[in-house]
């Protein structure tokens, strides 16, 4: 790196830019600072523009249907009447189901990786769990259509119907495509998120707590239960909410396996429809401004809910420690 052309500060000519304090400022510094600030402002602008675009796009639907949009079950493009309740139900139910599968497994993975696994195993297993997050959504969807759904139809659903068929959740036609497949696919996709954030949260727990419990004669699990988990609790809740945020917005994989029928059924075998799926399926073919506007309103709801969930989750995680590197979670 050559510095020879730099003039000594003592003989440098006065710059024409003065700060408030009358101190000389390097003109390159001034431009650099302003330029990077401008690009940083781009992020705020993008988020604001996103919110504005969603509101603007859904204005027609908002004024026409008002609050009834989220309580009406009728979605009829032919008569131009739109109510999003079945999609809201499908989104919430599939995400909840996904959390039921993913939270215990992710916590197990996180505890294994941060507390129990021998050092040589942590790296490779952690890497593999992160690869789970790297597989594109559409590839999971393809696998869901041709591997998961047939397996559910032929093996799992008959078994559930035989053993637990007296419950309303396990009745009806066994198609493979439906709520159960959607929940499982979502669970697979959010497990890496929940487990990697949880692992970072557990790592942020001071080891003195752990050592204290072990020193008092606790077994490794007891040390985790009495010393580590209580300290980490809010962070683990935050990790779960981050996972929920991902599940709500996940689009392709669930669109490919959930069946895309706007029914509302208690059965996990029945097809359903999610908010993200209806946008994916209908947006590019929507004719008529009210139709487009209604779809944009579904997007707006999704946007608002995920933004709020993300804010809450991050506050909870920050309480325990800082987020993993990169911050994209």
């Amino acid at each position: 790196m050559s510095v020879s052309h730099e003039v000594s500060p003592l003989i440098r000519p006065r710059s024409w830019i003065l700060t408030r304090f009358g101190r000389e400022v390097n003109w390159g510094d001034f431009v650099f600072h302003r330029l990077t600030a401008l690009l940083a402002a781009l992020l705020i602008a993008a988020l604001t523009a996103m919110a504005a675009a969603m509101f603007h796009g859904s204005a027609e639907s908002l004024s026409k249907f008002g609050f009834g949009f989220i309580t009406s079950r009728i979605w009829d493009p032919v008569r131009d009447i739109y109510g999003a309740l079945p999609f809201i139900y499908g989104t919430i139910a599939s995400s909840f189901l996904a959390l039921c599968f993913a939270v215990p497994i992710s916590l197990g993975v996180a505890i294994f990786l941060s507390e129990l696994a021998p050092a040589w195993l942590r790296g490779p297993v952690g890497f593999l769990v992160e690869l789970l997050a790297a597989v594109p959504s559409v590839v999971y969807g393809l696998w869901g259509i041709f591997v998961l759904a047939p397996w559910l139809r032929e093996t799992v659903e008959p078994l559930l119907a035989r053993t637990l068929g007296f419950l309303p959740f396990f009745q009806g036609q066994q198609r493979g495509f439906g709520m159960l497949a959607g929940g499982i696919i979502l669970a697979i996709m959010i497990t890496p998120t929940i487990s990697s954030v949880s692992r970072e949260v557990l790592r942020a727990v001071p080891s003195a707590l752990r050592e204290g419990a072990l020193g008092l004669g606790a077994t490794p699990w007891e040390a985790v239960r009495v010393a580590v988990l209580p300290y980490a609790r809010s962070g683990l809740v935050g990790a779960t909410i981050l996972g929920l945020g991902r599940a709500l917005g996940e689009t392709m994989a669930i669109t490919m396996v959930i069946g895309n029928r706007s029914e509302m059924s208690a059965s996990l075998f029945a097809p359903s429809y999610t908010m993200a799926s209806v946008i994916a399926n209908e947006f590019s073919e929507a004719t008529g401004s009210l139709y487009l506007s209604a779809l944009a309103e579904v997007g707006l709801l999704l946007f608002v809910v995920t933004v709020l969930l993300n804010i809450v989750a991050r506050l909870l995680v920050w309480r325990v420690g800082r987020l993993p590197e990169g911050g994209r979670l």
């Binding site: 969603m54 992710s106 969807g141």
Partner: protein
């Protein structure tokens, strides 16, 4: 009756086994996906797959050359629009980001990274597609860039913060102005780590489908330039997978294998880069 001590030991073993089991269960889908994509995709990979256009329904053969080029085009555009602003915004956060404005930027980046990709699609649709009146590679590139931007920004910031201050002081002591210290000393030292973060971000957007559905759309033919609807691997996989044709399913598996290889290659390279160089997370 078990003695309390034995019971505690027993519980410990049970819970620890459950954790191991959880790790095993979590990895089963990964193994299954890799297995099926390889097994069913490998047969469809041949020269025609890389060089020919898709054939109409009913004719066998054909390839996905247009989708392959389309994905490269989209990823290139995303990098062009997403990386420079992202890195410089990250530089701002690391160097001057202690202000209230810096906090707001950081907050926006974090919130943006949690926004569902399909809503980013709607946003770019109204921003680009509605203005230009047609689907285009440009719109798709913008959508992917918006998805990359927060990741690149935050990664750059995190990595710059890891560089020891003594390095900056030494450079300033030599009389370099601050901006050149930032660019030529700090940023260069952090470069391998930033490259890792960027590669991971690229790997993520390369497989994104949802935001492309109504920005880049798809196209059974070659698209020239950046102003036409453009096919991409993920959208083609989706369209083929949900179609009723056996021949198209085969193409979908082959494309999935290719996409998965691309994404995994980027991921593995990124991790190796981290391991072998300093200035990484």
């Amino acid at each position: 009756m078990l003695s309390p001590y034995t019971r505690r030991k027993f519980t410990d073993v049970v819970v620890r086994s459950a954790c191991v089991l959880a790790a095993v269960i979590a990895l089963i889908p990964l193994i299954s996906v890799l297995y099926y994509v390889t097994r069913r995709g490998i047969g469809g990979i041949n020269l025609a797959f890389f060089t020919e256009l898709p054939k109409p329904v009913g004719e066998s053969g054909g390839g996905m050359a247009n989708a392959l080029v389309g994905t490269l085009k989209l990823v290139f555009l995303a990098c062009a629009f997403g990386i420079p602003p992202g890195v410089l915004a990250g530089v701002y956060l690391a160097e001057f980001g202690h202000s209230r404005f810096g906090k707001a930027v950081r907050f926006s980046a974090d919130v943006m990274s949690g926004v569902p990709s399909i809503t980013v699609g709607i946003f770019v649709y109204s921003l680009v597609v509605l203005q230009t009146k047609h689907f285009s590679a440009l719109a798709g590139g913008v959508a992917l860039a918006v998805l990359m931007l927060p990741t690149v920004t935050r990664t750059t910031e995190e990595l710059l913060r890891l560089i020891p201050e003594s390095l900056r002081e030494a450079a300033l002591g030599l009389g370099l102005p601050q901006w050149r210290v930032t660019l030529r000393v700090m940023l260069r030292t952090a470069a391998p780590g930033i490259a890792t973060g960027v590669m991971l971000a690229v790997a993520r957007v390369a497989g994104e489908t949802a935001p492309l559905l109504f920005t880049a759309f798809s196209n059974p033919f070659w698209s020239s330039g950046l102003n036409e609807p453009t096919a991409s691997l993920p959208v083609s996989i989706y369209n083929y997978a949900v179609s009723p044709y056996e021949e198209w399913h085969r193409q979908a598996w082959a494309a999935a294998l290719l996409l998965l290889l691309l994404v995994l290659l980027l991921n593995v390279t990124a991790r190796l880069l981290v391991r072998s160089r300093v200035g990484a997370p």
